[in-house]
């Protein structure tokens, strides 16, 4: 399956900005199930300096420095990716009991080096007994890890309401757990917090998801958004992705950009500007499925 994604960010400032430094996590990773076919990054004003590197987690980082005085900053990330099918849940039945995975990670960390960075609490996602308790009726004794993770995905979807007004990027997890509403980022953090409170390894994945317009209506440009979900470490199958917002195992409609311990490791764009006063942010994302034969030039 091939997709084209356009992700545009516009910051408008009340006062002129004389210097702007931005750190981006916008270019998609290569994974066994995903190949990035093409990538372009456009920025207005034109950056005085631009560099890129792979970070500790293997994500693409772009550093931009704008020195031209400006009141509007516009960054557009545009790319095409090719997705391969992932195994369905029926192919994942051999995952070990979750207690067994927990014990392995605690006792033999050196044998699970790719998982150990993702076991511990972070400042944004603290572990707690409340979170462990929340997951407990999914993680029943001797239940297989991935089966339990799917149950937790369903539980979050069933018990929480999607509400873009209820939270923002800084809302603490306790509040989300109490309020029972939030957005994909909150649900991903919630699931991560619960899994780590049980001593399991999981990571925060940021990316995009294909949305389906109502039947008979055209796809709207810019109506999509960044998305986030959770990847769970299984010693048998490796990393398996669950989307608590959409109550599904991740298949061929999720485009992966970056992953880390939580949102803080992968936020699409963060920055420091001199001047500016108050700022306004507009983000628009368009995900377009492409027929394999009609490859658009981007």
């Amino acid at each position: 399956m091939r997709y084209q994604v356009e992700h545009q960010t516009i910051y408008s400032y009340d006062l002129p900005v004389i210097q702007s430094q931005q750190l981006l996590h916008m270019m998609p990773r290569q994974t066994p199930f995903q190949t990035c076919v093409s990538y372009t990054l456009a920025c207005e004003p034109i950056p005085a300096e631009q560099s890129q590197r792979l970070d500790f987690f293997g994500n693409h980082n772009h550093y931009l420095t704008m020195l031209a005085t400006h009141q509007v900053l516009q960054v557009t990330s545009r790319f095409q990716v090719e997705l391969q099918p992932r195994p369905p849940i029926t192919a994942l039945m051999q995952s070990p009991a979750w207690e067994q995975v927990q014990a392995m990670l605690q006792a033999q960390g050196a044998q699970h080096l790719e998982a150990v960075p993702f076991i511990y609490a972070t400042n944004r996602v603290k572990s707690s007994e409340a979170l462990a308790a929340f997951a407990k009726n999914c993680f029943t004794p001797q239940r297989s890890l991935l089966d339990a993770a799917m149950a937790l995905t369903q539980k979050i979807h069933a018990e929480f309401e999607f509400d873009a007004q209820a939270t923002d990027v800084s809302t603490p997890l306790d509040e989300v757990l109490k309020g029972r509403r939030g957005v994909c980022q909150d649900f991903a953090h919630l699931m991560i917090g619960a899994l780590r409170s049980l001593g399991l390894a999981c990571r925060y994945v940021s990316g995009y998801i294909l949305t389906h317009p109502p039947p008979g209506q055209p796809r709207l440009v810019g109506a999509d958004a960044s998305h986030a979900w959770v990847s769970v470490y299984c010693p048998v199958y490796g990393w398996v992705d669950f989307d608590p917002t959409n109550n599904c195992l991740v298949q061929q409609e999720h485009i992966t950009v970056a992953w880390g311990r939580d949102f803080g490791d992968v936020s699409p764009m963060r920055g420091v500007v001199l001047g500016g006063g108050r700022q306004q942010l507009e983000v628009s994302v368009t995900v377009t499925p492409l027929e394999a034969t009609t490859m658009l030039q981007v």
């Binding site: 300096e49 050196a110 960075p117 609490a121 420091v272 500007v273 001047g275």
Partner: protein
């Protein structure tokens, strides 16, 4: 001899002073005989001298630093801790070995992580520690050195052995305090200090400067090689090394400013630095200067809001990337906090064997990390003998002594341990040694003993670690004598290491080799400091003028009848309104109907103008002045600072029912202090670039006031009493000496406008401004401002005094307005030209 030592009691602990038979140990004998032979009064005087010197030097430690400048004086015991040479050699070698080992561990954690993959370090110690910063993995280090500065807290067990209690690897503090302690205590016991042949501290700091300069040159070479347009350092040109401070409210800010002065490095804030082209630059009055080395006192994750903690307003955006490119050396390397964990202690003996191939020379206090199942069980079994502490600094909690817990507390605590064992370490509760302390008790010096710990400092050189021969000894005097920390009211001690070699007689501070090394200007004046000085100058003068105007107004109210002050009274009230000491009309309608206050109405308003908590009162503007002075603490002398301090305390207490007389008396006291500050500005500060910025501020403020005053005065009736004009400009004495008669317009205006020798005249301010601006920027007169001011002066000279120097003259009023506008413009242009740095706005990400 018995008389003194009898004051000491015996215990199971090791006693630093006494041996097991109650005799003074050999290395203490010289000090003991001084105590024995000296009159108690002489010893009392030594104690008092130490306390006085701490106050005079302004040595402070901010415990609850706040905007009111509550600072605690540093606490220092008069008796040093004495350590014999052989013992010191063991300590120094052990500390150097430990620093070397920890540096290797740090390099591995942020490098290949072999200790992790080989199972020598459990992953929790790295990934469970919030001090581990993934962004810092892979940053290169010059000479494989990441832990440049290291400190370790030692304590002595009952058997006389020294043990390590904890490591300080992020921004070790206290070496500056150790240096100040030495200065004070060595002068309290000058003869003893000389005779005992004590190891000097200055060599350590000299080698620190050499090391940083060495790495600074390496960084400079890298910058020149990799960044187009950056030139290599010239022959003999020193690299730029700065100390990065979190600011004056940090608990050890005093130490930071002291070390900056001692080492000769600029003390900078994050906003003084900027990253461009992967290089860190210092924003100075003369433009951007590349920085080579940053000695930081800001915590790791607060150093870079772009890549690390976005909540930080203290750091420098892009610093991590600059370090990654090898374009700046940060001491310590970002991420070094990860080593600061009690959980690591138990792993060090094995790590030392495997990394250095030798045994760990000095053991740590027995420590169990509860993350290991066997350790957890041991800890639960032996809880009574153990102290439980958080395993990582992010888990902020106080030590818990097992022996303090009752049965039910113990049970719930064990449940907590079992729930998150990895979050806790347990340490053996050690009875640490006691050292003698001497305190004044009811005016009598009294000898006692207190538990002591010793902080030892190491600093990296390209050839290994140098150790400060001495250190910061601390005795517990807080509530809980089992915890030794300055935060909880501990007392510090100087540490004397006895030497076999004779010591160089002088401190190496500012060792000058030849006249070529003489320095006449501070090399770098940061834009922030220039702006602080500028505003300090303005606030000082504004405060003085406010006070004098208020005094003149109150005196006129008290001394004259309404009829006899009718001419000038509305103008005086108007001037108070300009200073916002009295409320102004809110809109045009109010303004049109405005009537001067009656005497009964204005009296309470004038009292309020002095004492009220409102933002415009004299009391409040004095606090603003204090703030401004605090921002340039390291630039002003202690005497100067003390005056500001006393002045600010004058208005700290509230005055609920103050009278007009009270107001007058406080104004008089305040004016005395303001005039003292003027004296410091005129005759007590070096006239460098920074001084010029302060003087520009003073003159601009003065000139604006004179313009406003005179243009308002010109509106007074012809026959008004002009004496108050002379009072508020401090010209009364001069006028009376020159003219016997009542003040008249022409001679008054001549004195206030034209007299070039009168520091209280308009022309004096203009001439000064032109001079300083030209000195600062000879090429273009600071963007033509000086020329404009000169133009003002020429225009004034063209006015005919006989025609124009009279009430109601329009030409003079015009000139005053124009000149006022030039000064407004001047202030803005100075800001644009020299202070153009802004506070960053951080976008945490979406």
């Amino acid at each position: 001899m018995q008389s003194v030592l009898n004051q000491l009691y015996f215990s199971d602990r090791y006693n630093e002073l006494l041996d097991s038979s109650g005799q003074a140990r050999p290395h203490w004998q010289a000090l003991v005989s001084q105590l024995e032979t000296e009159e108690p009064t002489a010893m009392r005087k030594r104690i008092e001298a130490v306390q006085r010197q701490i106050r005079d030097n302004g040595v402070t430690y901010n415990v609850y630093a706040d905007t009111h400048g509550v600072q605690r004086p540093w606490d220092l015991d008069v008796l040093p801790l004495i350590i014999p040479q052989e013992e010191w050699q063991h300590i120094a070698a052990s500390v150097a070995q430990r620093a070397t080992l920890l540096n290797r561990v740090l390099l591995d954690i942020y490098g290949e992580q072999r200790l992790l993959s080989s199972g020598q370090l459990p992953p929790a110690l790295i990934y469970g520690h919030s001090g581990f910063l993934p962004s810092c993995v892979g940053i290169p280090h010059y000479d494989n050195m990441a832990l440049h500065s290291y400190a370790v807290d030692l304590a002595r067990a009952p058997n006389g052995q020294w043990w390590v209690v904890s490591d300080r690897t992020q921004t070790p503090t206290g070496a500056g305090y150790a240096l100040e302690n030495r200065t004070i205590i060595s002068s309290a016991f000058p003869e003893l200090f000389r005779d005992l042949n004590i190891e000097r501290l200055s060599g350590f700091f000299a080698s620190m400067r050499d090391s940083l300069a060495h790495w600074g040159h390496r960084v400079a070479a890298n910058q020149a090689q990799t960044v187009p347009g950056v030139t290599a350092l010239g022959q003999g040109e020193p690299p730029l090394i700065v100390i990065l401070t979190p600011g004056p409210y940090n608990e050890t800010y005093h130490e930071q400013s002291f070390l900056a002065g001692y080492l000769g490095y600029p003390l900078v804030h994050g906003s003084d630095l900027t990253v461009r082209n992967g290089i860190v630059w210092l924003k100075t009055i003369a433009g951007l200067k590349p920085v080579h080395v940053i000695l930081r006192r800001i915590d790791d994750d607060y150093c870079d809001p772009l890549e690390l903690n976005a909540d930080s307003l203290l750091g420098v955006a892009g610093l991590t990337q600059a370090a990654r490119l090898g374009n700046v050396l940060i001491a310590n390397a970002l991420g070094s906090n990860v080593l600061q964990s009690g959980a690591l202690l138990g792993f060090l003996p094995n790590l030392c064997q495997s990394l250095l191939g030798e045994a760990l020379r000095m053991p740590s206090v027995a420590t169990w990390w509860c993350g290991e199942p066997a350790a957890l069980e041991y800890v639960i079994q032996h809880l009574d003998e153990l102290v439980i502490k958080p395993a990582y600094p992010q888990l902020r909690s106080s030590p818990i002594f097992g022996e303090d817990l009752n049965a039910s507390q113990k049970e719930s605590f064990i449940a907590k341990l079992r729930a998150q064992p990895g979050h806790y370490i347990a340490q053996e509760q050690v009875d640490i040694s006691h050292a003698p302390v001497l305190t004044n008790h009811h005016q009598q010096p009294q000898l006692g003993t207190l538990a002591v710990s010793l902080r030892v400092y190491a600093f990296a050189t390209p050839n290994g670690y140098a150790i400060l021969p001495g250190g910061l000894s601390r005795v517990a005097s807080g509530k809980d004598a089992r915890v030794v920390t300055m935060q909880r009211g501990g007392t510090s001690k100087d540490t004397w290491v006895l030497s076999q070699d004779s010591q160089p007689p002088f401190s190496l501070l500012r060792k000058t080799n030849s006249s070529q090394d003489l320095v006449r200007e501070n090399a770098y004046l940061s834009s922030r400091m220039a702006e602080n000085l500028f505003w300090y100058g303005r606030y000082s003068v504004r405060n003085l003028q406010k006070a004098i105007t208020l005094r003149a107004t109150i005196r006129a109210l008290v001394e004259y009848t309404p009829e006899s002050r009718a001419g000038e009274w509305p103008t005086m009230q108007g001037l108070c309104q300009w200073f916002e000491l009295l409320p102004s009309p809110k809109d045009e309608e109010e303004s049109a109907n405005w009537q001067p206050w009656t005497d009964d109405d204005i009296e309470p308003l004038l009292v309020q103008a002095v004492f009220s908590q409102q933002s415009t009162s004299l009391a409040t503007s004095v606090q603003q002045l204090f703030q401004q002075a605090f921002n340039l603490r390291e630039r002003i002398s202690n005497d100067h600072w003390r005056t500001v301090n006393v002045l600010s305390r004058l208005f700290i207490t509230r005055h609920q029912h103050a009278s007009l007389q009270d107001a007058l008396s406080y104004i008089e006291q305040a004016i005395n202090h303001f005039v003292t500050l003027t004296g410091f500005a005129m005759d007590w500060m070096t006239r460098d670039l920074g001084w010029r910025f302060m003087s520009l501020g003073r003159r601009i403020e003065r000139l604006q006031f004179m313009c406003v005053l005179l243009s308002r005065a010109l509106n007074m009736p012809q026959h008004s009493n002009l004496e108050w004009l002379l009072q508020v400009t401090n010209n009364l004495v001069t006028y009376r000496a020159r003219y016997a008669a009542q003040p008249e317009w022409l001679p008054v205006l001549d004195l206030l406008l034209m007299d070039e020798n009168n520091p209280n005249s308009v022309v004096f301010q203009i001439n000064g401004l032109v001079k300083y601006l030209e000195e600062m920027d000879a090429q273009d007169n600071a963007g033509g401002i000086a020329t404009e001011l000169n133009g003002c002066w020429q225009t004034l000279l063209q006015l005919d005094p006989d025609q124009c120097f009279i009430a109601g003259n329009a030409a003079l009023a015009d000139w005053l307005n124009q000149t006022y506008n030039v000064t407004l413009n001047l202030s803005d242009r100075l800001s644009m030209r020299f202070f153009s740095y802004a506070s960053p706005l951080v976008t945490p990400g979406y």
